[in-house]
């Protein structure tokens, strides 16, 4: 047998194998992965779908069994006792806590990155603590503080509590942005006759803005969502999560499903809108460049 013949035989014998093996792997992956993904998604979405569907339920007192379709819950959301008041409280608390926590947290983040001072590392570490501590501990601790200080619990104490844990998240988010900011840009601003305030508002702030917005959205979501710390520090005031929790015992009114669904839809619209504008901006940039 010549060398060439040997090669031909060898390659003829080898040739079918790798494609076949690959096809087998592919077909396994091609059904397993989609099925697995679909199952996971269904599992994730069932509670949301349930909430959404039952927001159209023509319920009486409890909203557990399907009693027919109606739009009444959507058109008269505020019919249910206190649902709207609780929702309004949540929005108010979320907005105030977000504004204060974002402003303070941004200032702290800039200070921590830009300046060298005593206890700088200690402060960095302490700011991580609220994120690492169990919420029950934070909530209970704060509640006993308020008790000790003789502060009347209510919306004010909820806001203070929310600011406390939101600041940590703001600092961590904005800090990353500050450390990636080239100090030469601010120096160029000062060199080009910008006063310290002008340099901050025209250069530093716009460049940090994406981080600040992300931090604010995160703060609002955390605040709107919070139940444990809130319930320790709310006194008689009600927020939306607290309302849902309390009414769960005797049946959640369908109006609560309406508000939950609306919040979910709003969030989806915001995310999609952001994606679309980002994509179109990218397209515009590549066209010009």
């Amino acid at each position: 047998m010549t060398v060439q013949e040997g090669l031909v035989i060898a390659s003829a014998a080898d040739a079918p194998h790798p494609p076949r093996a690959r096809r087998a792997q592919f077909s396994l992956g091609s059904w397993l992965l989609p099925v697995y993904t679909a199952l996971a998604l269904i599992f994730l979405l069932i509670p949301i779908a349930y909430t959404f569907v039952f927001s159209f339920n023509n319920s009486l007192k409890s909203n557990i069994s399907w009693r027919g379709f109606t739009l009444d819950n959507w058109t008269n959301v505020c019919n249910a006792q206190d649902v709207c008041a609780a929702f309004g409280n949540s929005i108010l608390i979320g907005v105030v806590a977000t504004v204060v926590a974002t402003a303070l947290g941004t200032a702290i983040a800039i200070a921590l990155v830009r300046y060298r001072f005593r206890f700088r590392s200690a402060i960095s570490l302490l700011l991580f603590l609220p994120m690492a501590t169990p919420e029950v501990v934070l909530g209970a601790g704060l509640a006993s503080e308020f008790l000790g200080a003789g502060v009347q619990k209510g919306i004010g104490t909820i806001i203070v509590a929310h600011i406390m844990f939101c600041i940590s998240f703001v600092v961590v988010t904005v800090k990353a942005r500050v450390s990636s900011l080239d100090p030469a840009l601010e120096e160029a601003g000062r060199d080009l006759y910008g006063s310290p305030a002008q340099v901050f508002w025209r250069i530093t702030f716009p460049l940090l803005l994406p981080g600040i917005i992300a931090a604010a959205l995160l703060s609002f979501a955390l605040s709107f969502d919070d139940f444990i710390i809130t319930s320790f520090n709310s006194g008689s005031a009600t927020t939306f999560p607290k309302f849902v929790y309390i009414s769960a015992a005797r049946g959640i009114p369908a109006e609560a499903n309406v508000i939950a669904s609306a919040v979910f839809l709003l969030a989806i619209v915001l995310v999609i809108g952001q994606q679309v504008t980002a994509a179109s901006r990218r397209k515009r940039l590549t066209r010009v460049g």
Binding site: S124, A188, R190, D191, L192, L207, V288
Partner: protein, 399 residues
């Protein structure tokens, strides 16, 4: 405010005994310097010698540990950067990424509330031939274009003093030559004082009226490019600005206008006026292109110095000229540049040769040739920034 109007003309810059100490490191040591108004002044030195620090001190971005800084006769040592009639073209350009090119250029004008900021910014952009890109963002421009925007953004303010920190560093050779010419013509057109920092000796020599060679935070020598080249004062200058052959030996003999030095048994003469030291150990230097190669021992006259015989150990041909390295026993190697007048090299490798030069071409140095380069690590500000970032990262991880 002093900066409320355009500067009519350039201003003098005067540094008096300036020191800059960073924690654990002295970057600038007793720097005194006067740059006359309207001149193109180059600060030349190896990376890490303190050039950027000097510019930052003048711009007010760094505070001097000691000393005074005067611009146009006015002491600005204690003023803030935005109060100084100075603009900088940064080494990294530092264009504002969130603003269009035209807004970048108009930034300084708007801060000073100068009328017609946009029109003036367009004018400045036309000067650097980039007006057609006015609405783009910096990230959509090439490096060379960004560099020109940075230049326009500084020049549009008509500062009395323009600081340029290696602004051509990132450009390729051709664009660099073009920008050098452009910079020079802009400087002549607007008549401002330019303080240009570079580590490229050719750039400094071709562009500047005056060059200061800086080493380890101090100015070694300052003067017109030709003077620096023809009569370097220290071994560092002799080697940083072009190449030099340096020989050290004891003074054998002095006359009213010359000094003789004993070098490996030969007497080498240098004019007294061109020697900084007149006794003890003296280092004599001569540029490679001033040397002649001889295949037979040349006659020693009062006007020439001769060294040799030695052997050619390397010949490299580079078109117009060839570089020969001649090893002379007891002296080390001597570099000779010779024009390629005839066909083929003047001396083949291994040939026995002598070198000679006219006495008037030699120079005597103030210090002695030291074997090791006098500057050490390549620790420039970029390195510092990287180190700082690393320290920060590790701190973050700890936290």
């Amino acid at each position: 405010m002093a900066t409320a109007a355009f500067a009519e003309a350039g201003a003098d810059l005067e540094l008096v005994g300036v020191h800059k100490r960073f924690p654990g490191f002295t970057a600038i040591e007793d720097l005194s310097l006067t740059i006359p108004a309207g001149s193109f002044f180059a600060l030349l030195g190896p990376s890490g010698c303190g050039k950027t620090t000097t510019l930052r001190l003048v711009a007010g971005l760094e505070e001097a540990t000691a000393g005074r800084i005067l611009i146009g006769g006015k002491d600005v040592t204690d003023t803030k950067p935005f109060q100084r009639p100075v603009n900088t073209v940064f080494q990294s350009y530092a264009l504002f990424p969130h603003m269009s090119i035209i807004e970048n250029v108009a930034f300084g004008l708007r801060r000073r509330r100068i009328a017609d900021a946009t029109a003036k910014a367009h004018e400045a952009l036309s000067l650097v031939e980039l007006d057609h890109l006015a609405t783009r963002r910096p990230s959509q421009l090439s490096g060379g274009q960004q560099q020109r925007v940075a230049l326009a953004r500084a020049i549009v303010n008509r500062p009395a003093l323009l600081l340029l920190d290696e602004p051509l560093g990132a450009l390729d050779l051709k664009l660099r030559r073009q920008m050098q010419l452009e910079l020079k013509s802009i400087q002549e057109e607007v008549g401002l004082t330019f303080l240009h920092v570079t580590h490229d000796q050719e750039e400094a020599m071709t562009m500047a009226d005056t060059v200061a060679v800086m080493n380890k935070g101090q100015i070694e020598q300052l003067g017109a490019p030709e003077v620096l080249y023809e009569l370097p004062r220290t071994a560092f200058v002799a080697n940083f600005l072009g190449q030099s052959n340096l020989f050290t030996g004891p003074v054998a003999d002095t006359t009213a206008d010359s000094i003789s030095v004993n070098i490996a048994g030969s007497k080498i003469v240098v004019p007294r006026a061109r020697a900084k030291r007149h006794s003890g150990q003296v280092t004599i230097g001569v540029r490679p292109e001033k040397l002649s190669l001889h295949l037979t021992a040349p006659e020693k006259t009062a006007e020439t110095n001769v060294l040799g015989p030695g052997r050619v150990i390397d010949v490299s041909f580079s078109g117009v000229s060839s570089q020969y390295i001649v090893a002379v026993p007891g002296l080390g190697s001597i570099i000779v540049f010779a024009q390629n007048m005839g066909a083929g090299p003047m001396a083949p490798e291994g040939a026995e040769t002598w070198v000679s030069w006219k006495v008037e071409h030699g120079f005597g140095l103030e210090d002695e040739a030291s074997a090791a380069p006098r500057f050490t690590a390549d620790d420039d500000t970029a390195t510092i920034a990287v180190q700082k970032k690393r320290a920060l990262m590790s701190e973050l991880e700890e936290a």
